[in-house]
Symmetry: C2
Subunit: 440 residues, 2 copies
């Protein structure tokens, strides 16, 4: 008998692999931070002796969600401004509030609130882009969450850095400080084609090649972005990125609501990863990412919530449902993005977009133990003909009962084990009161 | 001091009226089945003495949701078949299962499961269309839920009735038996233009006029329906209904995804009520109801989930969020369907579509006490700048803590008081096992 730390015995086990199966009578074993085995309950009990056996009789066990695009700390601006045109929302409200309020403390409290929300809703890893990324990284490490922290780059000065060189320098310093982390990776995060000029983009491409580092960027979010680029550069943003040799397998391009058929072919050929953020795109009327066409064209897809100021939550279950419904509605094909494909976007697809698909994103031996349990006993997810259908089309976040990251149980029977929800909420409320009182 | 049964003191009170306000320092008083007063806490304590005072410190109090279109008992087919073309889904799966399984017992168990789900998610009243409506009515009365029960009519025979005359006869008998009910009303429910021929439709129009009874019907759900009608009748379905004099203030037309500008004008002029079912329409790729155009054209709008076989839940919070996001995305206007308008569709708009807007749908004195509390202390709905934004864009169903229907607290601190969730779930699972075992 081989000793393991935990054996988990769920009602259904969904590995997220080519079988697209929901296994019954199966179990999973964890030792330290790793999945040791996925096998039948009988085989598992014959071979392994567990320090702890966790039986989840009405639950599905699946890989944790990978939120492939967010700005975690923006939870502090959740619902600050809604239902208005994009430029008014951004310039008169969000940017104004950010320039006044964003500092280390804002990012610490906002990130903690985001992680409390993400863990409760089954997200085990997030791909972040925001200011003071060293604070986001430290908070994630402290909470035990996995994250890919964006080394943000802009031309313009902000509270965090003065110019592109300053951003890149600070980012590289952060990357270096995190080189031994078990949980945190980094990616270059040039904000968008319209906020970063050619010279820093060329430097990032060279650095990314040298360091084998991914690039995380908003691309083709709106029609306005395309028109602006054509006016300024006589090129669509994707053409400009190609000219700058950024259009390759290291690029994770977020939003992509405006795509020509030839661009979809090019993305597939160059193995660019695309992140779909359907709720944010709908709420801001940015356009709709052509998910069905991208999938049939062979482009790797991931799913993200975007920040809480434009979503207004970081709930990957809800995002997955919206993605699945919207793909069918917008492609006029009810077979588009079936349940397992939507789940794959939210898990293994996200891992691919972060360059972590050897490490996380599915349940198989030797991967890190990042996994979640969803309790399907709620009347809204009964009866169960197919747990995949219930998870994608009917479940909501409070049905997530347990979350493990790197083998550690961060949500246990719906309670956070590393974060103090009440204390975080109290701090977030204090911030909101100050921000609201000084609203211009 | 006037004696009242209950005084409820929430953090925010959202009456759903022209003020579009979220009131603070306000309270609501209930006696028997009615709202007696909505006033400041101070005024309320000065004037009323309550047998019970309920303080909800982190909650918003609002009218209960009115699900303006569903087939409650179809919860037993939730997730039975997904991700396939409409005709295959309907003919090869849903209709086949229904013809084999739908009987009094199916409808009783399915309706109970639906009501457990609806009460947990804040729905206090539902507009139903299904077979064995006398069973649905009896179960709703038993559980204490408000419902408008459709007197379903088809040309074709089913387990419940042989032909249109038989359906109408059984429906009228049911209506008569419910004439003293405090909770249940009835409406004629001819299934759709393509399943009911001219003669019964004319008879229903006469009966509806004589009895001042509403008509609840699927109309313009898909492009295929329009084409079929033109081929058969040389008329679009709305033209045919107009010719049959059914296009008037008594008609509640569900789906309406295919509408010409002239048809929108006509709907407004004739005061037809339209029910939007965005999740079902997306999932089946039926098309998108042009909500922004209908609202600006002055058409009264309500919101429905449709049945759980095509949604796959009966969650009005999720439906409201989808409606708000989709209206913006599909109209390319981020100001379309702002939060309070979406909430009005889900409450007062539903009451209008059921002819119950004098009775329910908003919080004001002399209306029936149908109301719900949403707990906003969840990290995903913090901090709160505007509770309307949190409710429409961020909250999920398990944040519904309390539900009152007709003054009676049917959900108390997240527990059902009139339904036994475990027993219902057990029966639903037994049904699903039998249905699955004999799947053809």
């Amino acid at each position: 008998m081989q000793a393991v730390d935990q054996i988990i015995i769920p009602r259904w086990l969904i590995p997220v692999d080519d079988s697209k199966a929901a296994l019954q009578d199966s179990a999973l074993a964890i030792t330290d931070d790793c999945i040791v085995a996925v096998d039948s309950i009988a085989a598992m009990r014959a071979q392994y002796s567990a320090a702890e056996e966790i039986v989840l009789p009405e639950h599905a066990l699946l890989p944790g969600f990978v939120n492939a695009h967010t700005h975690a700390a923006m939870t502090l601006l959740r619902g600050y401004a809604d239902d208005m045109p994009l430029q008014e929302w951004l310039q008169d409200h969000i940017w104004r509030a950010e320039s006044k309020w964003v500092d280390e403390n804002f990012v610490a409290v906002g990130t903690d609130l985001a992680m409390a929300e993400m863990l409760h809703s089954g997200t085990t890893c997030f791909n972040d882009m925001y200011f003071f990324p060293e604070v986001t990284a430290a908070r994630a490490e402290q909470a035990g969450m996995r994250a890919c922290i964006g080394m943000i780059v802009l031309d313009a000065a902000t509270q965090w850095a003065q110019n592109a060189d300053d951003y890149i320098g600070k980012g590289l310093e952060l990357r270096d400080s995190l080189r031994h982390s078990q949980l945190i990776t980094t990616a270059f995060a040039p904000h968008a084609p319209y906020t970063v000029s050619d010279e820093p983009l060329e430097r990032l491409r060279t650095l990314a090649d040298e360091m084998d580092c991914r690039i995380h960027m908003h691309v083709h979010e709106t029609d306005y972005e395309i028109k602006q680029s054509i006016a300024k550069h006589q090129l669509r943003p994707l053409q400009r990125l190609q000219k700058l040799e950024l259009l390759g397998p290291r690029l994770t391009a977020v939003h992509m609501t405006q795509l020509l058929p030839s661009e979809i072919e090019n993305l597939a050929a160059r193995a660019v990863k695309v992140v779909h953020c359907p709720q944010s795109n709908l709420k801001l009327s940015s356009g709709i990412c052509p998910v069905a066409k991208l999938l049939s064209g062979g482009v790797d897809l991931a799913l993200g919530t975007d920040g809480a100021a434009s979503n207004n939550d970081l709930d990957m279950l809800a995002e997955m449902q919206t993605a699945a419904l919207l793909a069918k509605g917008s492609s006029e094909n009810p077979s588009a993005l079936p349940a397992h494909d939507a789940l794959e976007m939210a898990t293994l697809g996200g891992a691919r977009a972060l360059g972590l698909d050897d490490t996380i994103g599915s349940l198989k031996p030797n991967k890190k133990a990042d996994l979640i349990a969803i309790d399907l006993s709620d009347p809204a997810t009964q009866p169960v003909y197919n747990p995949l259908s219930q998870i994608v089309y009917s479940a909501t976040r409070r049905q997530i009962s347990d979350v493990w990251v790197n083998g550690k149980r961060l949500l246990k029977d719906r309670r956070l084990t590393t974060l103090d929800s009440e204390e975080i909420t109290r701090k977030a409320q204090q911030f909101a009161q100050r921000i609201n009182a000084q609203r211009q």
